[in-house]
């Protein structure tokens, strides 16, 4: 098992009620597997399964099917971006 820092942003962070969480994972796992694990572990974790929630692995946008590697530093979840 490995501790992985998971961070949340914007409306998702508000709905989850937390900005970050140390997840214990048996890597490698996919982003989708992490979402389902956290949806059960965290209060209001079901928000992670809502459509449109995006993710990143070590600052790069990722998809649900992407694999989180063993040397990962940080995974993030957030709603669609709205800059500019």
């Amino acid at each position: 098992m490995q501790n992985v820092n998971v961070v949340f942003f914007a409306s998702l962070k508000e709905r989850m009620g937390i900005a970050s969480y140390e997840a214990q994972l048996n890597l490698p796992v996919t982003v989708e597997e992490l979402k389902h694990k956290l949806s059960k572990e965290l209060n209001n974790g079901g928000s992670l399964l809502e459509s449109g929630i995006q993710s990143s692995i070590d600052f790069e946008f990722s998809r649900d099917t992407d694999v989180i590697p063993e040397n990962v530093k940080e995974v993030a979840f957030f709603p669609p971006v709205t800059g500019g």
Partner: protein, 147 residues
Amino acid sequence: MIRVQQEDFNVQSLYECLVEENKTGAVVMFVGLVRQFADLPKEQCSFELEHYPGMTEQNLSSIVTEAKGRWELLNVTVVHRVGTLSVDDQIVFVGVSSAHRAEAFQACDFIMDYLKSRAAFWKKENQGSDSKWVSANIRDEESLERW
């Protein structure tokens, strides 16, 4: 140059940094502002811009690198503000210099399109005592298809 900052920016100074003596034939700049978004006095309206430190800068850098690969450019500057902003405040600056105008126009347009959909920023509108997160606009995603 890429900067994510709370403080305002000066367009004239940013313009001067884009120009290279004897080489520059065109400079195209875009400035995005906070427009009035509610039927309230503007003093009661504000914007909050959140970002993901580390990822946001990396996103902007990737977009600029992609633009430099597609067009022959001299300099590119992107400045995006974060924190609390008021109606009429400047939010974002994108400036591109090149030898010819076509490259500068296209690259500036490209960078803004990608910045809207591929950079980690989130806007929240505050109206009096209410606040709501801005939803992503489907047209922003669709506009990427032209590139």
